[in-house]
Point group: C2
Chain length 234, copies 2
C-alpha cells in the first residue's frame, strides 16, 4: 500500500465549529447593530446562512459563473439573509468576517499538530486563502500550506478540486488522505483515488444533533483528530 504523504482537511464542521462560531458572532453583531431584535434565534440564523452555501457554489461548479472566492459568495448570501430577516445591511461586511474567526473543536490544534509529525497537513476547503489564513492565525492551526478551492480554482466536490490539489503537492491521489466529517466529501475524494478518514462531529449542527456516522467503509473512522494522529503514526 502506498504511504500517505499528506492529510488534507475539510474545515467547516471538521476542524472548526461553524454553527457555534456564526451564532456567537451574530449575537454580538445584533447587540451592536440591531439590539431590539431579541426575537432572532442565532443558531437558526447560522443554519439559514449555511443553507445558502452549497447553492452559491453550484453555478461555478457547473461553469456558468467564473471562479469567485467564498468570501464574496458568503457576502451575497448574507445580504439575502439580512433582507429576509429585515435587518440592516450596512454593517454586513463586519458579520461576514465571522467566518475568518471560527473556533476550532477542542482537539483540532493538538490533533493537527500530531498528524503534522507524520505527514504534510493542509486544508482542502472551499474557504478562500485569506479566510483560512486568518482562521489559522486566530486559532493557532499549524498548517504546512493553505490549499483549497481558491488555489486550484475549483470547488469541492468537483474532481478537479481533489486532483489538482494532489497535483500541486506533486503527489498521486492515493498518497493523499482526505479528512472530513461529511460522507459526500469523502465519497467524491475516494472517487478520485484519495484515501479517506471520517471524523465524528456530533455537534456540528448544534446540541439537537443526535449522531455523526460514516455511511461507507472509509479507510479511517475516528472520534477526533488526536485519534487520527495516533493511527497515522502506526
Amino acid at each position: 500500500m502506498t504511504a500517505i504523504r499528506a492529510a488534507l482537511f475539510d474545515v467547516f464542521g471538521t476542524v472548526v465549529d461553524w454553527r457555534g462560531g456564526i451564532a456567537s458572532s451574530t449575537r454580538t453583531w445584533l447587540d451592536d447593530h440591531a439590539p431590539d431584535r431579541t426575537d432572532i434565534d442565532t443558531g437558526e440564523f447560522a443554519d439559514r446562512w449555511r443553507a445558502k452555501y452549497q447553492p452559491s457554489m453550484q453555478p461555478i461548479r457547473e461553469g456558468r459563473r467564473e471562479f469567485t472566492a467564498l468570501d464574496v459568495l458568503h457576502r451575497e448570501s448574507l445580504l439575502e439573509l439580512l433582507d429576509e430577516y429585515a435587518l440592516p445591511t450596512d454593517a454586513a461586511e463586519e458579520l461576514n468576517r465571522a467566518w475568518h474567526r471560527l473556533p476550532p473543536w477542542p482537539d483540532s490544534v493538538a490533533g493537527i499538530s500530531a498528524i503534522r509529525e507524520s505527514v504534510i497537513v493542509a486544508p482542502l476547503s472551499n474557504g478562500n486563502i485569506s479566510l483560512l489564513l486568518d482562521m489559522a492565525k486566530n486559532a493557532g492551526l499549524p498548517w504546512d500550506a493553505i490549499l483549497g478551492a481558491e488555489v486550484v480554482r475549483a470547488y469541492k466536490p468537483t474532481p478537479e478540486s481533489y486532483l489538482r490539489t494532489a497535483a500541486v503537492l506533486d503527489l498521486s491521489p492515493d498518497q493523499c488522505l482526505m479528512v472530513a466529517t461529511h460522507n459526500d466529501d469523502l465519497a467524491a475524494a475516494r472517487g478520485c483515488g484519495l484515501r479517506t478518514a471520517f471524523v465524528r462531529r456530533p455537534r456540528e449542527h448544534g446540541p439537537e444533533q443526535s449522531s455523526s456516522e460514516p455511511t461507507d467503509d472509509w479507510n479511517y473512522v475516528v472520534d477526533d483528530l488526536l485519534e487520527l494522529g495516533v493511527l497515522l503514526r502506526q
Copy 2:
C-alpha cells in the same frame, strides 16, 4: 501610513542559498552517477543552471506558453545542461529535486519567526508549491501560507504576480512588504504599490562576490532577516 500586514519573501537567494545548495547536491549526484567527472566545478554548474532560469519563464510571462510549474522548467533546463556537460540524463529527476532541499541562510528561520510575530509571512517566489513546501519542511521555515507564482499563475516580475498575491490575502498592495535581495524584484513590487525591504546577501553568488547593495531608496535596507524583524516590531 498604512500598517504592513504581510511580509512576502523572495526565496532563491533571499531566504535560501541556491548556489551553495545546488553545488553541494551536484557534487553528491556526480559521485553517484559520474564519479570520473572530477573536472566539473559544481559552483559553475549551479551558475549555468541558474542562468537558464529567467529565460525559461519568459515565454510564460509573455503569454506564449501556458503556465508551467518551475519544477518542469528546472528539469528542462537541467536536461539541456547535462547535455552541454556530456553527462547522463537518466538520473536527472534526482538532481532536479535539489531545489526542494536548498539550505536557508543562518538567520532565515529565526528571522522569519521573529517577523511572523508582527505580520503574516509567506513566500512570494517563482518556486512551485511542492518545491516551497518541501523546502519549508526540510529547513523549518515557519510560513503562514505557501504563496507565489503557482498560486496566482503568474511569474515575477509581472504585475499580476504581486497584485494577485495581495488580492488573495485580501490586502491592499501597500499593506504588503516585498522582501528580497534583488533590486529588480523590489522595483517591480514598488511599481505595483507594495512596500519594499532589501536584504543584503553578499554570498548569494559565491565566495568571489564582493557586495550586495541596494540601488534605490527601499523602505528598509537590512543585513539580515533578524534585523528586519526588529524594525517591523517598532
